[in-house]
Amino acid sequence: IDCISHFTFFYYPKLYTPGQRNMYFNRTSFLLCIMQSCYNSLILFFIPYAALHDTVRQDGREIADYQSFAILLQTCLIIVVNAQIFLDTWYWTGINHFFLWGSMAAYFALTFTMNSNGLFFIFPTMFHVFVSGTGRNSLNQPNTWLIIFLTCLLCILPIVALRFIFIQTSPTINDKARKYKMRRDEIPAISLRPPATRRVSKRSSYAFSHSQGYGDLVTSQKFLDKKTPRRPLLFVKSLCKLAHMIIFGFFVTFTQL
């Protein structure tokens, strides 16, 4: 749903054409999504791998251990996914802000809670989940945060650059509308087209239905091309997120085994 209000769509029905022509959800865009998630997965693993190779903490102790590496990758992943949602959300209300920043805050709160000493004493055998002290020991290093910063930026910047190029070179009609609205702040309300002159006729609608009708429109098979998507735009983006995370999950699993 665009910030262009529904009144604008009412006056300019051509703004509906990207949705009708399946411009946002077709095989090409899904393939691009898969390629982007492969690229993201490679960056998310290999940049921390190369940066933590033979590195230690500030006081000489270990930083490249299994759990610290895992926390580093998870943090990068969460930030990248949230940044992607940030870029894809066109209509920012208070609810969007709450869930986006809230999910990141919840991730950090949960990480530090799971890595606290108290939970370790209660459940010491849940080794993989409640690890004592890893979050504190790895996330307080400036090295770690520099790696996170680099990885997230390397994942996000190509997307921003490509979108900017596409908006400049071949803007869709919605992009043009957004730019127009941003400049003028209100698309001038044109008066409705006067409705097609009605046939003032004394014939009933039953008789009217016996006129030529729309038979040739139906039989011309124009309807077969335009499939209106049943799902709204946001579902595509969440599908892309899911693809991102699944591919990244497979990648991490294969490297562990």
């Binding site: 033979d54 102790r61 270990e62 055998t125 004592s132 090295n143 520099l146 650059a161 900017f164 509308a177």
Partner: protein, 370 residues
């Protein structure tokens, strides 16, 4: 008649609570309330990728990253590191005989000496690491093979270790303490460093073995069972791991703070590494009080008690001496990556500026077609 008028009123969408004279009760209208939340009219903000935001962002990122990258690269280059492989693969290496003649049940340990020369003096604290290659401490079955409750000093787990430790759970009918494959493969080479003076005498370099493990590991995660009194009594009824030469309460008998499960070498080994080539902190050489360098340049000899076999899986062992900075050990990758990404960003910003200039003038006057 009444039914049709009732239906007509429903279709109108008005609240039909008052018109319930015809129906079985008050039926609420399905039309959502006319609030901003439900009609999706909340005040909102809309970000648009305009040239005014994207281009400065790219240039700023480029300008920030390049100095950070240069700083990281310079810092990494100033770290002094010395690495020596002592596996003993070639015939002419000092530890070749020890590597070849290794057997698990030999009572006398094999000692080999490796000579090396330091070209530059090492200032401030020097950290001595042992490094292993081709050792997959991140294999899933290996990582799970431990019992954290036993390592935390819980008595019940001392006598009945967890099932995850199989097949290193019991030996000769007695439970193994510490159980698991990670503990069983503890690195047990002894590395001693000697400095050869001008007149040829060997002088031992003083090292500390405390402070090499994480504070949370040593004081929270690992605890000895039954308090800190006589450890051999506390571990009675348990067996040592199969591939160890001495029991866990003999790891450092002189220092009760470093004996048993809280032995720092053991704790450092139990923190499994993420990558197949890793280094673990072995000893720390503290800096000298006056401005003498911690390790002056010159000849050194390292005496190794070769206990750990790596040739069966084509692994390599090495010893690393390194100084430390605020960003950790010597790793130029981050500096180079920052410089590269910064310059690419800057270049991309220039390219986008050209594209924007070329295309924006064309679409300035475009109206939205009806």
């Amino acid at each position: 008649m009444m039914a049709s008028s009732y239906n007509a009123k429903e279709e109108d969408g008005h609240h039909s609570g008052s018109s319930s004279h015809g129906g079985p009760g008050a039926i609420k209208s399905k039309k959502p309330d006319n609030t901003a939340f439900k009609q999706q009219r909340l005040p909102a903000w809309q970000p648009i990728l305009t040239a005014g935001t994207v281009l400065p962002a790219f240039f700023v990122i480029g300008l920030i990253f390049i100095p950070i990258g240069i700083g990281l690269f310079v810092t990494s280059n100033n770290i002094k590191e010395f690495e020596i492989d002592y596996t003993g693969v070639e015939i002419d290496s000092p530890c070749y005989i020890c590597a070849k003649n290794f057997s698990w049940n030999s009572t006398t340990s094999c000692v080999c000496s490796v000579n090396f020369t330091l070209d530059q003096p090492f200032e401030s604290n020097v950290y001595m690491y042992y490094g292993l290659s081709n050792f997959y401490q991140n294999h899933r079955r290996y990582v799970k093979s431990r019992d954290d409750s036993q390592l935390n000093g819980v008595e019940s787990n001392l006598k009945q270790p967890s099932k995850e430790c199989e097949p290193y759970r019991t030996s000769d009918g007695l439970p193994i303490a510490p159980c698991g494959a990670i503990a069983n493969s503890l690195f047990n080479d002894t590395l001693e460093l000697f400095h050869i003076n001008q007149n040829g005498t060997k002088q031992r370099v003083n090292v500390t073995k405390k402070g090499i493990a994480w504070w949370t590991d040593k004081h929270v995660k690992f605890r000895n069972p039954g308090g800190s009194s006589n450890l051999s009594v506390a571990f009675q009824g348990t067996a040592k791991p199969v591939n160890w030469r001495k029991a866990v309460y003999d790891l450092d008998p002189e220092d009760p703070e470093n004996n048993g499960f809280i032995n720092e070498d053991f704790i450092v080994w139990m923190r499994t590494a993420a990558l197949p080539t890793f280094r673990k902190l072995y000893r720390i050489i503290q800096k000298k009080p006056n401005s003498t360098p911690t390790l002056s340049s010159g000849r050194y000899v390292m005496e190794i008690t070769y206990n750990y076999p790596v040739l069966s899986f084509d692994g390599r062992k090495r010893m690393i001496l390194s100084t430390i900075s605020w960003m950790g050990g010597k790793n130029p990758f981050l500096g180079i990556a920052y410089i590269t990404v910064g310059s690419i960003c800057f270049f991309l910003g220039v390219v986008l500026l050209v594209i924007h200039h070329k295309y924006d003038t064309r679409t300035n006057s475009a109206e939205i077609p009806n």
